[in-house]
């Protein structure tokens, strides 16, 4: 293989596939290089939430709101059923301390423009009859949705191919040739790709691609374990996260008092019904290297948390468990845009658990930046250089790993 292209996108998950599609749509000559298969890594081992409520109020929530608008017409645009459903979502609240935190969180989200409210437990049960007796309240937002990440990755990749993109699976990037501070080619085990622009959409493997260009990318794999149930259509309505999920995502130290084991594993509940009626029940946030084993203690911690909120789930059967690796960054936000010092190296990685929600907006922004030079605020603020400018954030993030 010897290719001459404008852009080589590295990584065939939801992010890389989306970028490839939007580049091809803009008329850019692009190749997608994927080490294994489309959707064979993180995007094939995650849940399916297009969540607004779990987003930190700020840039990421703003991006998510743009993304959910895109998802509404994306199945038609890609001519591929993404199984998108803007079904709404709830965050059940277990106690007064969580309620205090969630009130602040919800106010901040409203200020960004999210339609979200806190319902008393009676009103919440009218929407969600399965809620258990120990709960005190719940949030509700009609904005949350769900989508099949498998369908998103395949849908983008196939539509990209129809727009003229070259899709190369089982093609591993082995080197990035840089001369005079500028990318000249990408070397793979299948041959050389001549290009002046490479997009690192490698997710948890993005640092390995960065290394080939001499760039240090502070992404770490963070394991998320998930259980799959038999089909129980309609039992749980809309997307669910526990208030502890929010706390575990943004302030894990607050969970340590009530559940040290759960806190160590980063357990927070997420429940989502697939298009076929199975529930996906997550999850954990663990630093375990690239190990994708499931562990009995984590699965039990998730189930314990589930039954506190939905006690009626005690008779539902688990048919499968799995684990995937989320690309963690020290400040919980993705790394987007060019890298100072190496012309032609663009990063689009580090979305942790937000990649499914943010894939369309990430893909279109990165493609528009490459094709037209549009410098979105997201791209200027979420560049790799923020970690050099704010080295103290990296240090505090590392403390959390221990």
């Amino acid at each position: 293989m010897r290719l001459n292209v404008d852009v080589a996108v590295i990584g065939g998950g939801v992010i890389g596939s989306a970028i490839t599609y939007y580049l091809a749509k803009a008329g850019v000559k692009v190749v997608l290089l994927e080490r294994r298969d489309i959707c064979s890594g993180t995007s094939g081992a995650c849940d399916q939430a297009v969540s607004m409520q779990t987003k930190n109020p700020g840039l990421v929530l703003e991006m998510a709101l743009k993304s959910v608008q895109m998802y509404r017409h994306l199945s038609a645009e890609l001519d591929y059923d993404l199984e998108f459903d803007q079904c709404g979502g709830m965050i059940p609240i277990e106690n007064e301390q969580q309620l205090t935190i969630m009130k602040i969180f919800v106010e901040q989200q409203k200020n960004i423009g999210l339609d979200v409210s806190i319902l008393d437990i009676g009103a919440a049960r009218k929407i969600q009859p399965a809620l258990g007796p120990k709960l005190v309240a719940s949030t509700f937002s009609p904005m949350d949705g769900r989508v099949s990440p498998l369908r998103v990755a395949f849908g983008f990749a196939q539509a990209a191919a129809r727009q003229g993109a070259i899709i190369k699976t089982r093609t591993e990037v082995r080197g990035i040739d840089i001369k005079a501070g500028r990318i000249r080619s990408v070397v793979t085990d299948q041959g050389i790709v001549n290009t002046n622009l490479a997009v690192d959409a490698g997710g948890v493997w993005a640092p390995r691609i960065g290394e080939l260009a001499g760039i240090s990318i502070p992404i770490l794999p963070r394991r998320g374990q998930i259980l799959v149930t038999e089909a129980v259509p309609g039992y749980i309505r809309g997307e669910i996260w526990s208030a502890r999920y929010i706390v575990a995502k943004h302030h894990i130290e607050w969970v340590r008092q009530e559940d040290p084991v759960g806190a160590e594993l980063g357990v927070g509940l997420s429940v989502s019904e697939t298009a076929y009626g199975n529930l996906l029940i997550g999850g954990t946030r663990e630093f375990a290297g690239y190990d994708t084993s499931t562990t009995p203690e984590a699965l039990q911690a998730i189930v314990r948390h589930l039954l506190n909120i939905f006690p009626g789930c005690k008779d539902i059967h688990i048919i499968r468990t799995f684990a995937g690796l989320r690309p963690y960054t020290p400040d919980g936000m993705p790394i987007l845009g060019p890298v100072e010092g190496i012309e032609g190296f663009v990063i689009a990685a580090g979305h942790e658990g937000d990649g499914v929600a943010l894939a369309p907006v990430t893909g279109s922004m990165i493609a528009e930046y490459i094709a037209k030079g549009t410098l979105f605020p997201e791209i200027s603020e979420l560049g790799l250089q923020r970690f050099n400018q704010r080295a103290e954030m990296v240090a505090s993030g590392s403390d959390e790993i221990g």
Binding site: D37, A45, T294, T295, L299, C313, R320
Partner: protein, 99 residues
């Protein structure tokens, strides 16, 4: 076999759909599963995995022995959440393959 023969009975995936997934680039059992849903049902591929391996081998020319199987994961058969909670130390964790 005819193209409309069911290969995955749980998810009702036909041989034609499996063939189409291979046309689209699938080369492993997981690749078929992610494209078609085959093996995602109640039996978790216990019945269809061997059939899928044979179809894959026939169409791709990859010997059946080296076709990548799906990762084996607990539980071995469907188990109630309440039973899972009470299992204590005897639960055997599945091992991932560094995916």
């Amino acid at each position: 076999m005819g193209d409309d023969v069911l290969i995955c009975r749980c998810k009702e995936v036909t041989e034609q759909e499996i063939r189409q997934a291979i046309d689209e680039g699938a080369y492993s059992v997981a690749g078929i599963k992610r494209r078609t849903g085959a093996g995602m049902g109640l039996c978790q591929g216990r019945t269809c995995q061997r059939l899928i391996v044979n179809i894959l081998s026939g169409l791709t020319g990859i010997p059946a022995q080296v076709i990548e199987r799906d990762t084996a994961r607990p539980p071995v058969r469907p188990v109630k959440t309440s039973i899972l909670l009470s299992l204590g130390e005897c639960v055997d964790a599945g091992s991932g393959k560094g995916e």
